[in-house]
Subunit: 240 residues, 2 copies
Amino acid sequence: MLIDKLLLKIRERYRFTEEEERQLRAAMVETAKFKAGEIIVPEDQEVSFSSLLVDGFACRTKYLKDGERQIMEIDVPGDFVDLHSYPLERLDHSVTALTPCTIAKLPHKKITELIRSNPRLARILWFATMIDASIHREWLISIANRSALERLAHLFCEIYHRLRVVELTDGLSYRFPLTQSELGEALGLTAVHISRTLKQLREMKLVTFHHRVVNIMDLERLKEVAGFDPAYLFLEPRTG
Amino acid sequence: MLIDKLLLKIRERYRFTEEEERQLRAAMVETAKFKAGEIIVPEDQEVSFSSLLVDGFACRTKYLKDGERQIMEIDVPGDFVDLHSYPLERLDHSVTALTPCTIAKLPHKKITELIRSNPRLARILWFATMIDASIHREWLISIANRSALERLAHLFCEIYHRLRVVELTDGLSYRFPLTQSELGEALGLTAVHISRTLKQLREMKLVTFHHRVVNIMDLERLKEVAGFDPAYLFLEPRTG
DNA sequence: CGCCTCATTGACCTAGTTCAATTTGGGTGG
DNA sequence: CCACCCAAATTGAACTAGGTCAATGAGGCG
C-alpha cells in the first residue's frame, strides 16, 4: 500500500489506532511519478498539497547564484518531502528527485480536516516536520565542525538508521543512489575530495560505497569515527 | 505585556482576532529569569512547557566532544525558544541565555487545549517552528557555501530583519550582544578570523560592530555582498 | 564500438586555523 | 580618582584541510 513506509515510521513512535490509520489512508489522494533529476516541488510557489515519498530517493535543495546547489536533506521512502509546506504555504527551497520517484498527495484541505477531527494527528504530523529540523541542526554541526571523513561517516550512519526503520536495509548494507558529486553537494565538499575520502574509509575498513550501494564493514567503529548519536532522529516511542 | 513581541510577529503575518489574542495571553503562565550564560532548556530532558523569550537574547547550541559548542540559531525577543519541544517532548540541543533573559511559560497541556478549541492556532504555532527550520537551512547554505565575509554579512542582515519586526532596531542600527567568539561559534569560524573579517567589513564601509551594537552603513550593498534574500524568513502576510 | 557520465589521481593553491603576543577597555576596590 | 584586573579584541607568522585544475581510467548502454 501507498503509505506503508510512513506507517512503519509512525508505529515505531506512536500507538496508532486502526481508525487513525484509516483516516490517514483515506486522506491521501492521487499519486504521481517523477524521473530522476526532476523537480518535485519548486521553490517559492504556492503549494496546496504535501507529497509523501512512496518510492525512490529525493532531496531538498537550494540553487546558488553560481549555479552550484546545496542538498539540505535526503528524503527516503516514507518521508513527507514537503509536509512543512502546509504551515509555510510555499517552500524556501526545491525538492528534487534523485532517482525515479513515486509520491502520494495529501491535500492541505484534508490536513486541516484531519486535524479538526483528531487533534492528536496535528501533533504527530507536526512532529514529523520537527525531525527534519533536527536533521538540519545535525547537518549544521557536521558541516561546521566535522572533518570530511567524519561527515561522510556520519551521513552513512544517519541514512542507515533511517532506512532501517522503513525496512530498506539488508543487514549492514543498503542502496544509496547518489553520485559522489551529489554526496559532495550534501556535505559541502567537492566531488574530488569525496572520492579521496571514500578511499580512506575503504582503507580503514569502515565502509565501502560502490555502484550506489553502501556496505558498512564495522558499524561500531564507524559511529565512533563519525561521533554519531542517533538521539537526533527521535526513533524511540513517544509518550504523547 | 509579556507576549507583545510575539503578537507583533503574528500580526505581521495573520489576521489575528482579539479572541485569539486573548486565548493565547491566557494560556501563558508564569515567567522566569535567567542570567547570561545560564541554560534555559537543557538537552535530552523531558519538557512540559515551552518558553517564550520576552526579553534578552538566547541561542540554540549543541556541545561537542572537544568542549567546543555550535550555536545553531539566535533567539530574539518574541521568539519561542523551544516551541518544538511540544511535538518533540525533549530537545536534541540546549537553549542558552546569551544575555540576562526573561521568559514566559506556555504549558504543553495548554497548547493541546488551544489547538483543540481553535485548530487554526495549530497551524500558526506549527508555522512558527517551521521558520526555525527555514533559518537552519539558510545557515546550512551559509556555512557550506559562503565565505567568512559573506557569512558575517548575511547574519547581520538576518538579525536586522528579525529585530525590525519586533521593533528592536533603531534605524539601521541594533543591539546585538554577542562576543566575537560567540559570532564564531554561530558561523563555524574562529574568533580570530571573525576579528579580521569584521575589520574588512568596516573598511568596506558596510557594517561596524562595536560594543555589541551593529551599525549598518550601507544596507543595499551589505545584502548584495551577503547574497541575502529575506524570503526564507517568511515575513509576508499569510493567506491561511 | 564508441560515447558519456562518473570516479580516480596528481600537482599546486588558498581560505581559514593555530599559536602566541599585545592591546584595549570596562569594572572594581582602595 | 587612580591602579589594577580580566575578558575581549587585535595582529603577525606559520600551517593545513580541502579546493582547483587538469589528465586519465572505467563502466554501462545505445
